[in-house]
Subunit: 185 residues, 2 copies
């Protein structure tokens, strides 16, 4: 299977009124995404934030589990958090993933509003082929990725749908479901 | 499809040492599980807690979005939270679901440690058949459901697995993935 990466984007994302904003890092996002990423074999999960103080906050969340109380409390948390890398921009994440994988990853866009994109089963088949490039899946916090992020994408993934029309999932749930569809047994 | 319910159990659950404990309600669990439940057509998601103060806390989380700030902030949150019902015991949840569905639900046990149980694809097929009973899926907080909960189960669902052996998912992720496997398009 091709090497898989993901990036949790905090800027540029939308707020509820469709304005472009920078969202705050949530400690539970880091934990949940680390655990889901490690379960599904993601090489690195990037927390992308342009503001130094926010990156420092994310680092303290991780260090708490790496060195202090958390290490003795639950070693599996620490193990999962080793998947996380905090970076400033999407380009930094792509550059790091290129070094890790030995090839530039294809960029995969996700949104709750996409229809007519690439079905998840098709991406799963593509990733299983021996000549597949590495993949980096982008997830937007807030109310989703800003439109300009779409220009960076090589693949635009279809939205996750349940039986009805409502699909207002948390980013933590969306990450878990997409990883399961692409890499679950 | 058969009517689907879920119950988030806070007692009896295990702590990291395998002791039986009562875990605290987390507001983000309520939000994430409400959003995932509503996306996948769950009739009711029960937050099960034996301690009155904890149930009151859960009620304030929901009321905040029902009546106050949240109502105007994001109507889709409020809509999802209408799926949530706070109860004292699993029997209360079963009783309420029986009234809603018109038949007693089959109880489905989930755990990260089950092997040799019912595969998720098999339960999905079963639920799609016209003579399927309603289903209630149990999820344990903390470090999972206590062994005695297994005695209540009609169906024991296989653990979620990624490519490797690590499967330490958050309960929020486990709920999302199982709902997607059972009801996703």
């Amino acid at each position: 299977m091709s090497d898989l990466f993901l990036a949790l984007i905090h800027h540029p994302v939308l707020d509820r009124n469709g304005r472009i904003v920078t969202s705050a890092i949530t400690s539970l996002d880091i934990h949940d995404i680390a655990r889901s990423s490690h379960t599904y074999g993601v090489k690195r999960a990037y927390i992308v934030h342009p503001i130094p103080e926010q990156r420092e906050f994310a680092a303290t969340v991780i260090d708490h589990w790496r060195f202090d109380f958390g290490r003795s409390f639950d070693g599996r948390r620490r193990e999962a958090l080793e998947t996380i890398k905090i970076v400033t921009t999407l380009d930094d994440a792509i550059s790091d993933a290129t070094t890790v994988a030995g090839a530039r990853p294809s960029i995969v866009h996700t949104s709750a509003r996409t229809s007519g994109g690439t079905p998840m089963a098709e991406l799963r088949r593509k990733m299983a082929s021996s000549d597949s490039p590495p993949m980096m899946i982008l997830f937007g916090t807030g109310f989703g990725l800003a439109p300009e992020v779409l220009e960076r994408a090589d693949i635009v993934l279809d939205a996750i749908l349940g039986p009805g029309d409502y699909n207002h999932l948390s980013v933590r749930a969306a990450v878990s479901i997409i990883l399961d569809r692409l890499c679950g047994r």
